[in-house]
Amino acid sequence: MIRSPRFWSWVAFGGGLLYFFIPLIGMFEFSLRARRGEYSFQAYTNVLSDPQFHQTFVYSAIMALFTIVFGVLIVTPTAFWVRLKLPRLRPIVEFITLLPLVIPPIVIVFGYIRLYNTSSWLPLTGSAFGTDILLMFGYATLALPYMYRAIDTGLRSIDVGTLTEAAQSLGAGWFTIITRLILPNVLVAVLSGAFLTFAIVIGEYVFAALLNRPAFGPYMVWMGGNKAYEPAALAVLAFAITWACMALIQLATRFSKHTRAQR
């Protein structure tokens, strides 16, 4: 029997719905089973009252913030100059920003460990602070493809060249142009990149584990190995955080459409 395309569309969509929602339901249901014979939020209470949870989460959140600031500072001027003055560099810069999607993260962190160990020319792993710096660089590398694309798209939508020439003709210097003109205009794009970076850093495991830093990712794995129901509660929390980050991105984008329409 031949069905209409719409029928198959519903089948494809319905199948996807089952596959994507059952694990979410499973995860949530499991997280409520901590007390025998009844559903409760016991697992959440256990997790939230665990000082380790607080320490690792705060550590990862702070790392995320520093990564975002560092990423924005390093990517924005580059994207700006490549658009405005150095379009010849565009293929090279784009290639570099795509590399972290191609080279497995575990290979990159392996390189870090070999290159910046205590006996090397730049012994970053020699101290906790140095390792934190290295970890932040690693996170910035992981986030680079997303950060660069977000900011570059933002710059494209505001016609950087014209705006800059207009500002220059009014006597503005480069510092003024970047801080007063470019950043406010790409703020929305920067925010999108920032929330995405936050989502990536919070759940990251490999870099933190191999550099031996007390981040949230290794903590979750440790919980997974030692507790039964708390990991599911953690997963629910992680899902909520990811969802919040994506919602904030959508909000920022909607906000930008609004302001753009007004101009």
């Binding site: 969509f13 100059w81 565009r90 070999r114 759940g203």
Partner: protein, 300 residues
């Protein structure tokens, strides 16, 4: 692009103070280039060079040869199989779902909801994703329990084990499919309604249209996404680690253990394993670039 740039530079009036101009311009990109060199390119190069060195610094192929033993080559195969399969299924299912919401006549709110959800799910990878699947399909997971108690079906009895090739594939698809949906939806939007109608008017069936027009037009995007999904699965450590501990030997887990110093004695074999991973993702991308160039002959 490049041509325009050259003429642009040639016709531009000479700068009043070229030295200062140049330094200012470069100042914007130099920090980025230094950063990329030190924390992306140099570490990778270090691995590549290390793979061909003995501990005392002389050049050797012994490390590479050391890869071709069953305990290394089998994990490589397993990783490649999982990556190829999840990339393939991710592309196929993601395309079907994206086509269903963009071209299948479903209400538009479904499309928006699905894109938003895909944004979340493609980032919901790693440790929490593994927990979600353990809570669903693990020994005490919701689906396992419901199937056993309500339908009398024993998943484990049927040979299903989440800590397996199949289990890992099922889990990886949870971020592979949404990633495909996110990337391919704009490409599907680029398919013009007129192409389909013109094909129909000329007597083509739906499948002829897809085979002769839509797929060739989508091909470059499909290839690119496939390469990306492959690399995505190939390098994934956290999901597999949290799901299986280290009981499933895929290559990133072997490398992880090696870096931790648990398993392999020879550190330079670690270089070789990492180098092998770079080579495989590198080849995947090279194949992609070559195929894309051929597929895009008809583009501007």
């Amino acid at each position: 692009m490049t041509d325009a740039t050259i003429t642009d530079a040639a016709t531009r009036p000479p700068a009043t103070n070229p030295v200062q101009r140049l330094s200012l311009t470069w100042f914007g990109v130099v920090p980025f280039l230094i950063f990329a060199f030190l924390f992306l390119i140099l570490p990778t190069l270090n691995i590549v060079i290390g793979a061909f060195r003995t501990p005392d610094g002389s050049v050797t192929l012994a490390n590479i040869r050391g890869l071709f033993v069953p305990e290394i080559i089998n994990p490589f195969w397993l990783s490649m199989k999982i990556s190829l399969l999840t990339a393939f299924l991710g592309c196929l299912i993601g395309l079907a779902m994206a086509a269903a919401v963009t071209k299948g006549g479903l209400p538009s709110w479904i499309r928006d909801a699905m894109l938003t959800f895909s944004g979340v799910a493609s980032n919901f990878a790693g440790v929490p994703l593994a927990f979600a699947f353990i809570a669903t399909l693990g020994r005490l997971g919701l689906v396992t329990v419901v199937l056993k108690e309500v339908f009398g079906i024993n998943l484990a009895g049927l040979g299903f084990n989440l800590i397996s090739f199949l289990g890992l594939t099922l889990t990886y698809l949870y971020f592979q499919i949404p990633l495909m949906i996110l990337i391919i939806t704009p490409a599907l939007d680029g398919l013009k309604r007129e192409w389909r109608e013109a094909a129909e008017m000329l007597g083509a069936t739906g499948s002829q249209y897809w085979r002769m027009v839509a797929m060739p037009v989508l091909w470059p995007s499909l290839l690119g996404t496939f390469a990306l999904l492959f690399a995505n699965a190939f390098g994934a450590v956290a999901t597999a680690m949290a799901l299986t501990g280290s009981s499933l030997s895929i290559i990133p887990i072997i490398l992880f253990a090696q870096i931790r110093g648990d398993v392999l004695q020879d550190p330079h074999l670690g270089y070789a394993v990492a180098f092998g991973m770079i080579v495989i993702t590198g080849i995947a991308n090279l194949v992609y670039i070559v195929l894309r160039a051929r597929a895009e002959r008809w583009l501007k």
